[in-house]
Symmetry: C2
Subunit: 300 residues, 2 copies
């Protein structure tokens, strides 16, 4: 049997089943970042992402943008937990023939994002590799009261999404701002029940959130803001790398949330959380209901 | 100009010059792990290593051994700082055609080392890649009084090395025990002035330690324990991936160290630290002196 016969998500489930962690790991595999016991009133957040040439970027792209993306995807994970990023390590695999100008550009991009979000570049590793591989490990922290998990969605919660969905591959995936400020604002000022960032696609990541929360949901086509660069609704909700936030909040907080939202980033209510047994339903613009299956980007 | 024209170490120096960190990073690039402010009396240690198929291992090697190596090289870095490892994240890049048996074996190896050294596998990332790439990010901690840096060697210190040097490529590089217990014993019971683990080769890593300490040294060919699988002294001291420890300690502590050393791991005094201006000298078995230049494994 091969890796692709199992698929990425079943593979991750399989790995997770084999792993036992101590009480110091509050949350391991199954959220945007690991949650680790730290101080009395705060947790460490620990996440990592690998970017491979030809998969996540092309060599012809600007090194600067690849560098910003490599750091930003990790910041997005820390944001989705309600926390702030602090320290990063960079691993770079690259061929000896790689142009130094490209590498300089790559690090310039990474340094710029780190400076903007007050992250210390604390070290890393450099090795030979035929294709360029960048791995970032990012360490952050979050106050206990601000920690947001995928698993907290409650029945009748309102489901929200930031920004516009889909079409990220046409450029935005290399040039996006992680929703750190928005996530911190939400974590500090509202009782957010659950949150995830969109890396595999709106539907796939909503399914991850619902699975961890053991809930179902109803979402409305007419309420989901689709990016102009997307190829229509049905592909947009499957496109990966939006790096927007999906979150759920009690219906009673909805009005206060819209009133207080201080960002230019669009905020959209896209549906409601329901009992798990009801599954995930999409209400089409013509009011027809469709039962949905998870469909997003799988690496294998 | 290409990456290989600069070479790995000059490249790392170049990156390091461009980076500014906050006061929370006590030690960034230039040691075995980053040292981060944490609690009043202890630091976080943060390190990462990337292993690439065809460079650090071959696909024909057992997945189990590759997995143990991937984790162990990181533990060796934490050990060399005097600390203990706590949490690991695994990034795996692999082709979809990879045999699941191999991947299971890989994770079995990683889990085994983690269990042995009480490390929580807290998460990771899985992505598509033509060649297998494994990146481990490891988080550890160390009490302030036990922190060991490369930079603390003092004039007239005695230089020590654990184990045997050289020939690691013949098999030991895939099947070694990181010197965690030895390093902790040293950190807790002696005033170790400086320490580094050997990944690039005895000479290269000794040079790293001396450079960070701004010192020189004299080492004795007859005192350096060479592995039977090495191809003689001159290549052994350049071979990488020994994962032994080099450390320096006041001459006055030497006797107590030999008397109390409780391990079967060999402990050898190989030389003395001297003024920086004197450089690095090797005393041959025939008593002739040779001035040495750093020579070890460079990735580019």
């Amino acid at each position: 049997m091969k890796l692709k016969d199992l698929g990425e998500f079943k593979f991750i489930d399989k790995i997770a089943r084999g792993i036992r962690t101590s009480a110091k790991t509050v949350k391991g595999i199954g959220d945007d970042a690991a949650v680790l016991r730290y101080k009395r009133d705060r947790y460490l957040l620990f996440t990592t992402d690998m970017l491979v040439e030809g998969v996540h970027f092309h060599k012809s792209s600007r090194g600067y943008l690849i560098g910003t993306k490599a750091v930003s995807v990790n910041i997005s994970d820390i944001a989705a937990m309600g926390g702030v990023p602090r320290f990063a390590l960079i691993s770079l695999g690259a061929p000896g023939s790689l142009d130094l100008g490209f590498v300089d550009d790559l690090y310039r991009g990474m340094r710029r994002v780190c400076r903007r979000f007050k992250i210390d570049l604390a070290g890393g590793d450099t090795v030979y590799s035929d294709k360029i591989v960048i791995n970032i490990a990012l360490l952050g922290e979050v106050e206990g009261r601000n920690l947001l998990l995928r698993s907290g969605a409650k029945e009748n919660d309102s489901l929200f999404v930031t920004g516009f969905i889909g079409g990220s591959l046409k450029g935005r995936h290399l040039n996006f701002t992680p929703r750190l400020e928005e996530a911190r604002f939400l974590a500090r000022n509202f009782h957010i029940h659950s949150m995830i960032d969109i890396s595999d696609g709106l539907l796939a990541d909503l399914c991850h959130l619902l699975k961890e929360s053991r809930k179902g949901a109803i979402i409305h086509e007419s309420d989901i803001p689709i990016s102009r660069s997307a190829g229509g609704f049905d592909s947009a909700v499957k496109d990966g790398e939006d790096f927007e936030l999906i979150f759920s909040i009690a219906k009673t907080e909805e009005r206060r949330l819209f009133e207080r939202w201080p960002f230019s980033t669009r905020l959209s209510k896209i549906g409601e959380v329901c009992k798990r047994g009801r599954g995930l339903w999409l209400i089409r613009k013509d009011s027809k209901r469709e039962r949905l299956k998870a469909a997003g980007y799988s690496h294998f």
